[in-house]
């Protein structure tokens, strides 16, 4: 549903190697010069296509006279960033976003760990149905639920409240992450906790003391993805929040784009600065978590 979660997860399942950077290198016979040039030419084109927009973002964020095209900053400055905080109250917006994203992450991790573990250890004949129901929910496009969630939230009084926002953010991320966690728990053999039960520990203690530590990498991934998804979620924020002091970064960005008028007026510099700041945690979490993912996946195969 969200842009990151389901995609990353399916990819992770397609093969643990997919999540890791291409670091597997085997010594091969050297590529000839023609091949070398051809491959790097294609690389260049591909990189250009995918990176040019980001280069523009950087160039505009640090340029006082930013325009829509890439240029070496005409007037290099950090004033765009400063203006964000002084003129547009971005500090508070950022803090709001961090609060919502972190709270969502905590809620999601708890709910998802419990649900994933429970689903994994469940012993019902129709267990598959539950798993498939969860997968089915994951495919629901949020853009279709926008209108009814507006209506529902309005009736429940959840609009313009962080409670509503956090609950809904969490709910959106659940299906995929439950499925992910179930996968992790499935790979942790049961005999470990069963030994603990025989030892006299309660199921809950066994879960916390034995199983969770082994699932830590999985939980780490889930936490990272949960944070990212909450950080990036725009649609729900637009529907639920209109009070200015509750604004989060996605909403600020969305409003900045929609209030800019005509081609002559867009303040590219300031918005680009906002974009850079918005992007920063994403890069940190994703590229940091990637290493965690690799380590976790390698760990999870150790127990077998």
């Amino acid at each position: 549903m969200t842009s990151i979660a389901p995609n990353a997860g399916v990819a992770a399942s397609a093969g643990s190697a997919a999540a890791a950077a291409p670091s597997i290198r085997r010594p091969k016979k050297r590529a000839g010069p023609v091949e070398w040039i051809a491959v790097h030419l294609v690389f260049l084109v591909v990189c250009a296509f995918f990176l040019v927009p980001f280069l523009w973002l950087l160039s505009a964020a640090f340029d006082e006279k930013a325009t829509a095209y890439i240029q070496w900053p005409v007037v290099p400055t950090i004033m765009n960033f400063v203006r964000l905080f002084t003129e547009h109250d971005f500090g508070r917006v950022l803090a709001n976003s961090l609060f919502v994203a972190i709270a969502t992450m905590i809620l999601v991790v708890i709910a998802v760990a419990l649900a994933g573990y429970s689903l994994s250890r469940l012993d019902l004949r129709r267990k598959d149905w539950i798993t498939y129901a969860v997968l089915l929910l994951q495919t629901m496009p949020i853009s279709a639920t926008m209108v009814p969630i507006y209506g529902l939230a309005r009736q429940l009084g959840l609009r313009n409240s962080y409670l509503g926002l956090i609950l809904i953010h969490a709910a959106i991320e659940l299906p995929f992450l439950i499925w992910l966690m179930k996968g992790f728990f499935d790979s942790i053999p049961r005999h470990l906790e069963e030994a603990a039960w025989l030892d006299g520990r309660s199921r809950f203690r066994a879960l916390v003391e034995i199983v969770l530590p082994l699932a830590r990498p999985g939980i780490g991934i889930a936490a990272g993805l949960a944070f990212l998804a909450a950080w990036a979620e725009v649609l729900m924020v637009v529907i639920l929040i209109d009070q200015q002091d509750l604004k989060t970064v996605p909403l600020a960005f969305y409003e900045a784009m929609r209030t800019q008028g005509g081609y002559t007026e867009v303040q590219y510099g300031v918005i680009a600065a906002m974009g850079v700041l918005y992007l920063l945690p994403v890069m940190v979490v994703f590229f940091g978590a990637r290493r965690l993912m690799v380590r976790g996946l390698m760990n999870s195969t150790r127990g077998l």
Partner: protein, 467 residues
């Protein structure tokens, strides 16, 4: 008062009834529910039990005021009014929520707020929205408050009429809308047209635009609003005046909205020519808020012809008074067969009190404070509109300004859009239909036919007819 009857009555006769019922209401403040005319069985009694007569008790509480503003002229007067209220009533606090966003976005956000628990007390939106806001039960009828307000007599009957609906008054206007056909004297002269250019008829606008296009590639010839991005301007600044110019009407005698008609076909043909010949830029239907760029370009000479609100002149004059007076000309809109002759009038943006407000008394104090003769006069001198209250025109800044005098005089030739709760929906149908023809998807005749479908989608098939 049911739809059909109201449409048939002329504005003046309707006004007489409005005044009569207003008088009755003023004399019997508790009998509001029983004296309001029957409403055709559809609208809820929007105000029964809500409006309390002005009491003599202490006024206190917080007044939440929310309003949009992009031009930058209003904030200081709003704050001045807030300060005045706070100093007069020590128990009152005024919280101002200024939203620097476009009217459409503001309105949608506002509707979501009005629907929820966090309802503002005072709002500031267009007078054309009175019908639908009242039907929804979102706004408070002001007749009781007006009965005790001397200044209301300063508002001409036609103005009071413009903010009435279903026999009640719902909002206080500050400056009336009127529109001009703006033209850049410098750009037209470069294209070989006289400095005191006047189009001989509505086709003359396209001819002038074509002349500019052929002589000067760096200047946009004409901006003809189309599509949803043009907001209400697509209707009020483009489609509707053209429709009237070609002898058409928005509604027929029975109150049905007219879709396809000979006049509509001509309007679509006009659009097809304007966009097909490249006289009006496609940017208008692709940009998020095209009017900002178009207004700015006319102000600096990048655009030659534009039919827009009279208040836009204030922005140009504030930037460079001398250059604007020298280079920007303004005319009434021409008709199919004759030269400049009419303008499009409207009640402008008005101040309302919300029905769910918890501090209506204090809210009323604020509304009064922001509509004093002094503030109305000064605000309209900067953000030029013909003033809603006649005593505001006595302010010196106002009387000495040729542009303001001209604008006020132009209202005498004004035609007004219809204050129906369905009009905002009709505007949306107009936006869809004009976007289609501007994008060149259909021929003029087919576009006119599709417009009937658009209207039916917007207001229901039973309220639409074609000629």
């Amino acid at each position: 008062m049911d739809e059909v009857t109201r449409q048939i009555m002329s504005r003046r006769r309707f006004l007489q009834v409005a005044i009569a019922s207003g008088v009755v209401v003023a004399c019997n403040p508790t009998s509001i529910g029983s004296t309001s005319p029957s409403q055709g069985g559809t609208a809820p009694s929007s105000g029964a039990g809500g409006s309390t007569p002005p009491s003599g008790g202490a006024i206190s509480g917080t007044v939440n005021v929310t309003y949009p503003d992009e031009a930058g002229f209003k904030p200081k007067y709003v704050e001045q009014a807030a300060a005045a209220v706070k100093s007069q009533y020590s128990g009152v606090d005024v919280k101002i929520d200024l939203q620097k966003i476009g009217d459409d976005d503001f309105y949608t956000k506002l509707l979501l707020r009005l629907d929820s628990g966090d309802v503002p007390d005072v709002i500031h939106v267009g007078g054309s929205l009175i019908g639908e806001l009242s039907d929804a039960g979102y706004i408070e009828p002001l007749d009781d408050y007006l009965a005790g307000w001397e200044d209301w007599k300063q508002y001409p009957k036609a103005v009071q009429d413009g903010v009435s609906y279903n026999g009640k008054t719902w909002a206080i206007p500050y400056g009336l809308d009127m529109r001009w056909l703006y033209y850049r004297k410098d750009d037209l002269q470069k294209a070989g047209l006289p400095a005191d250019w006047q189009p001989a008829n509505v086709q003359g606008i396209l001819d002038a635009a074509a002349a500019v296009k052929s002589k000067d590639a760096g200047v946009l010839p004409y901006a003809l609003y189309a599509g949803p991005a043009g907001s209400s301007g697509t209707a009020d600044h483009a489609f509707v005046p053209l429709l009237w110019a070609y002898g058409g009407e928005l509604q027929d005698a029975s109150g049905k909205w007219i879709g396809d008609s000979p006049a509509t076909k001509k309007v679509m043909a006009y659009y097809a020519k304007a966009y097909g010949d490249g006289l009006s830029p496609k940017e208008i239907i692709t940009a998020t808020k095209p009017w900002t760029a178009m207004r700015e370009k006319l102000g600096n000479g990048g655009l030659a012809l534009l039919f827009e609100g009279g208040w836009v002149y204030g922005g140009w004059a504030a930037a460079d008074k001398a250059a604007t007076e020298q280079n920007v000309g303004y005319l009434l809109h021409p008709t199919e067969s004759g030269g400049p002759s009419f303008t499009v009038g409207g009640p402008g943006t008005c101040w309302y009190i919300t029905a769910k407000s918890k501090n209506k008394q204090a809210a009323w104090e604020f509304v009064k404070a922001v509509n004093t003769a002094e503030i109305v006069g000064k605000l309209n001198a900067e953000d030029p509109h013909p003033v809603a209250r006649t005593d505001a025109a006595d302010v010196t800044e106002f009387k000495s300004n040729k542009y303001l005098v001209d604008s006020t005089k132009a209202l005498e030739s004004a035609r007004f859009t219809i204050p129906s709760p369905d009009y905002p929906k009709v505007i949306q149908a107009i936006q869809t239909a004009t976007a289609r023809i501007a994008a060149g998807e259909l021929s003029a005749d087919d576009a006119a036919k599709r417009y009937t479908d658009d209207l039916k989608q917007a207001v229901g098939a039973d309220k639409v007819t074609s000629l």
